[in-house]
Symmetry: C2
Subunit: 226 residues, 2 copies
């Protein structure tokens, strides 16, 4: 499938790498291609410099957000929550009638730690994106999972943990579900309409706390039933 | 130990029954003893009428909130989130220097379903209670778990799931941890200070959604690590 991954950080890189491995025709979207290729700062999450990463993945095409979205059937938004709405709105025509997987969290670090959520309780970033882009089929998923576990759940406890999915469009959720299964996800819970992004995004403060308590980001939620 | 359970609903009944089984000297607190004994409406959560339940547990003492707290070393607040702060504040002198386990959730059903949280994101009900009652050692725990599983975690999947705990007082958390272990809890995560109640309470919207999706309240969260 022709897939665009918007974002060149840890999450974007993980998806691009995995999708390429799985044989998809994948393009990575960024704000400014030249600037990204010439970036000389280390990744804020401790990963490789972009150029170093790209040398290891020479086949990955890099394009502007607009061009990446234009040529793709499925879009994965692996963007910082604080800019995701603005960046997506700017390329709205190229997203029209397509499926957008939104992985972002509405994290606001401006008031110090722990971060708060800038959309929460009676709203969510997933809903904001769907409202702002009514022609796009938004599916919220994967937002509280570490990048490498998102794309290869078997990297953690043989994959015995859960991923949630929220969205208004059944056909879009079927496509996302197939993609998640191809990543190796065995337990996918469809929570319902995009309003259920609220619950999924509100799992983030506990996740951040657990990262601190447990001293690792290598964990995921599971739902235990009889 | 002398323990007061404040609240006569499903959660209060579950704790009272289990504590009594475990040999504690337990008293159940209510607003108005006579009114509770003469209640003729069914329990809103579908349980027995109070009088029917009490006939099955004739040894359980019933007292006012104030009297129940006064004679006890440990207090369990199994109260509706919307009234818990007011009811606890009214008996503040009787709670002084004691450990209070707060199980309540800040659920607001006034705007329809799904309920929103009246404290959230940059505050929590756990923090509100601790701020309002500075002489009380508040420990938030058990708030997203069904009553019967709270008091007997082995009732679900042999107990292989997790309970969180938040509070400012290490001595209080040690007492609560011992109580939880006596209930059968094997996996207790101390999240940190009472501020971490935010994360624990924000797990409630997902819990309510899952109850709908899964068609049962017989589930609990687990944290999967390698």
């Amino acid at each position: 499938m022709k897939i665009a991954v918007l974002g060149t950080g840890m999450v974007g890189r993980a998806h691009v790498g995995r999708l390429s491995e799985l044989g998809h025709d994948v393009v990575m979207g960024t704000q400014d291609v030249e600037a990204t290729l010439n970036k000389s700062e280390p990744d804020p999450m401790g990963g490789d410099f972009f150029v170093t990463w790209h040398e290891k993945h020479p086949d990955i095409k890099l394009a502007t957000f607009a061009d990446a979205a234009k040529e793709s059937e499925l879009i994965i938004g692996a963007l910082n929550g604080q800019v995701t709405l603005k960046l997506l709105k700017a390329i709205e025509p190229n997203l029209s009638n397509k499926v957008l997987i939104d992985i972002s969290n509405p994290l606001d670090f401006s008031k110090g730690m722990p971060p708060s959520l800038f959309a929460c309780n009676t709203d969510s970033l997933g809903e904001q994106i769907q409202r702002a882009l009514p022609q796009v089929k938004v599916v919220k998923s994967l937002n509280t999972i570490s990048a490498d576990i998102q794309v290869c759940p078997k990297n953690l406890a043989k994959g015995n943990h859960v991923v949630f999915m929220s969205g208004n469009h059944a056909d879009a959720k079927a496509i996302v579900s197939d993609l998640l299964k191809s990543y190796g996800w065995q337990q996918i819970i469809d929570l319902g309409d995009i309003i259920t992004s609220r619950g999924a995004e509100m799992m983030m403060p506990m996740w951040l706390q657990l990262m601190k308590t447990e001293g690792t980001s290598r964990f995921n939620y599971q739902i235990i039933k009889d």
